[in-house]
């Protein structure tokens, strides 16, 4: 791991009317780091994700990806610049086959650029692109063990595989930073274990920087290099898993006095 900072947020915050959903969030995520964002329900974790992906425009503060200011950019632009995400409640394209879900993720890759008119008139480039895209999608599905199911409809996959497909689809956009929103939600211990392996594998094989939200503290402490704990929209503690989780404030927020 080197010290190059991929994502940097400065005093990031948002208010909805009088509600301060997130305030003064400062994150410094280094390259190839597994970074955890935890906190009790309603702490503002998904709000932070939504700000980082452009769903919400932050009211205060800025965030930088590789030094480039992306504050207030649209969702599409932020994705093109290199932040991809998964959703807390799975959002696949349910009526499309598994491979098509991944192909949608590959849509914006510069090597597959092809205007609608080229496709409508079936220029040679269309065929070349389609073939290359399909190969790449299959490769991604193979890594996630979904190659066999590639022609099934996405909604017919079991829950764990839908989660994996969502990650595969996010990776298809070739991001610099991957945001996973509660990847282990609703999974049994075996599936969680398997997911931890998958996440590590993604980091190593794709050289990916990963920011994840999770409630399962075992999952977080076993996986993350560094953790930020949020509560009521403010940062309670930051540091390595052990430091953060043993912080008295954090224990208080989770368990009470």
């Amino acid at each position: 791991m080197n010290d190059k900072i991929v994502l940097k947020t400065e005093h990031l915050g948002i208010t909805f009317g009088g509600l301060k959903a997130a305030q003064d969030v400062n994150l410094n995520i280094k390259e190839k780091e597994l970074y955890g964002l935890i906190g009790p329900n309603g702490a503002g974790k998904t709000t932070v994700f939504n700000m980082l992906t452009g769903v919400y425009k932050p009211t205060t503060g800025k965030f930088y990806l590789d030094g480039e200011d992306l504050t207030g950019k649209s969702e599409e632009t932020i994705n093109k610049k290199g932040i991809a995400r998964t959703f807390q409640n799975i959002r696949l394209f349910n009526n499309m086959s598994v491979i098509r879900n991944v192909l949608v993720g590959l849509h914006n890759q510069p090597e597959f650029r092809c205007s609608p008119f080229e496709s409508m008139l079936r220029f040679p480039r269309h065929f070349e692109n389609e073939k290359a895209m399909r190969d790449k999608a299959k490769e991604l599905l193979r890594i996630f063990g979904l190659e066999e199911e590639r022609n099934n409809l996405a909604c017919n996959l079991p829950y764990g595989k839908q989660r994996k497909l969502e990650i595969a689809r996010a990776l298809a956009t070739n991001p610099k930073l991957l945001l996973l929103d509660e990847p282990a939600a609703g999974m049994n211990p075996n599936e969680t274990e398997e997911l931890m392996e998958t996440v590590r594998k993604i980091r190593d094989e794709f050289n990916m920087t990963i920011l994840l939200i999770e409630h399962d503290l075992k999952f977080v402490s076993g996986l993350c290099d560094e953790i930020t704990v949020l509560n009521f929209g403010t940062v309670l503690a930051q540091g390595t898993a052990e430091e953060a989780l043993n912080n008295p404030e954090v224990v208080k927020a989770y368990i009470g006095n």
Partner: protein, 390 residues
């Protein structure tokens, strides 16, 4: 060059191209049989209906936005096309050249209006967009009625009727449109469009430019509606604003719903069928009885809706639906072929067989057909939850 054809051959699925063949054969047979005037009228109307239904299916079925103003785009095409043809006919002289020119101009002007309507689709959804498009159709019709150059309420006269052979042009245009739209749908752009339909939030998060694709689909769809309007205008000796009423839009929508939203072949069949039934019943039912044809129309729609949705009929549907029958016939042919050439079975690309045509749409049939305002679909409910969550 050879690589190009190899690519085509690799991705070749006869099923995808059967509609081109059927339409071409249908056209050739029609030309050979030298139809009567009444038949050419029917054929021409079928051609217009196919263009309108398939282009509306692009918006309703593939983009998943309900548009009730398709007749408005057609109206623009018909008035502009006929007006321009009246101006330039003497200078050019050839009916076909004038028709092609006016088709392009009329289509482009309709497309400009499609772009404007498309902007409302960026902000509105479901019922609200339907209201806006409905209003658009009526406004356009009324404006055309009140322009003196367009003949006012008396209608715009068209002294240069193309003649009975227009059905050939209509079918050729329909075929060209079909190729373009099918190619678009079966490409990365088609995937992006259906992704926007299936889950807009996820599509945005995948970097799909939702604005671009919504506008693109509206522009393309209204372009072809405009072209159909120009054809319609050149077929009639007078263009009346009453021809493009709300009922016309609904008739096109019924074709799309009947054929199955998101099914191009279905739209073609339904367009041909409904046009045929309309004309047939009109000639067979004398006098006041002709009002009954609307009843038949409604009955057909009800039967199709019940056949598609009733659980008790599900097994019959599996057995006797078009796709099942086709799969049976096609399967028999291919089985025989592969029995002879077992090595070729391996070589075939079996990838990604889930057909576009069977993709169910976001807009459910009962939602379209009922007059009640239904609560927003589940997707949207969870959207707001997700954002509030945490």
């Amino acid at each position: 060059m050879t690589a190009y054809f190899k690519n085509i051959k690799n991705g070749f699925k006869p099923k995808n191209y059967i509609n081109y063949v059927v339409i071409t054969l249908f056209l050739i047979i029609s030309i050979i049989s030298q139809p009567k005037t009444s038949t050419t009228t029917l054929l021409a109307n079928m051609g217009f209906a196919i263009i309108l239904a398939v282009s509306l299916n692009l918006v309703v079925g593939f983009l998943g936005e309900l548009s009730l103003g398709h007749a408005g785009f057609m109206c623009i095409g018909a008035y502009i096309g006929t007006f321009i043809s009246n101006q330039i006919f003497d200078a050019i002289g050839s009916k076909l050249v004038v028709l092609i020119l006016t088709m392009i101009i009329g289509g482009l002007i309709a497309a400009i209006f499609g772009y404007i309507v498309g902007f409302s689709a960026l902000r509105l959804k479901g019922d609200y967009l339907a209201i806006v498009t409905l209003a658009f159709g009526e406004i356009v019709r009324d404006i055309c009625k009140n322009i003196p150059a367009f003949g006012g309420a008396m209608g715009l006269k068209n002294p240069h009727r193309y003649g009975n052979n227009l059905y050939i042009v209509a079918f050729v245009v329909a075929l060209i449109m079909l190729i373009l739209i099918q190619n678009l749908i079966r490409s990365k752009h088609g995937r992006a469009i259906t992704a926007v339909r299936d889950n807009e939030i996820a599509a945005k998060a995948m970097g799909i430019n939702v604005t671009y694709y919504k506008l693109f689909v509206f522009v393309l769809s209204s372009f072809f509606a405009g072209v159909a309007g120009v054809l319609y205008g050149s077929f009639n000796s007078i263009i009346l604003y009453g021809d493009f009423s709300f009922n016309k839009s609904i008739e096109i929508l019924v074709m799309v719903v009947l054929g199955g939203m998101g099914s191009i072949n279905g739209s073609i069949l339904a367009a041909a069928l409904i046009t045929f039934i309309n004309t047939f019943l009109q000639s067979k039912l004398p006098g006041d009885l002709s009002a009954l044809r609307l009843l038949v129309y409604a009955l057909i729609l009800m039967i199709v809706v019940i056949f598609n949705n009733a659980p008790a009929l599900h097994k019959y549907k599996e057995k006797y639906s078009f796709s099942a029958l086709f799969a049976k016939v096609y399967g028999k042919i291919t089985d025989k072929f592969y029995a002879k050439h077992p090595e070729k079975k391996q070589a075939r690309i079996t990838d990604d067989s889930a057909a576009w045509n069977r993709v169910p749409s976001k807009i459910k049939m009962d939602e379209v057909l009922s007059t009640d305002i239904l609560p927003d679909d589940k997707n949207n409910d969870t959207d707001t939850e997700d954002k509030r969550d945490e």
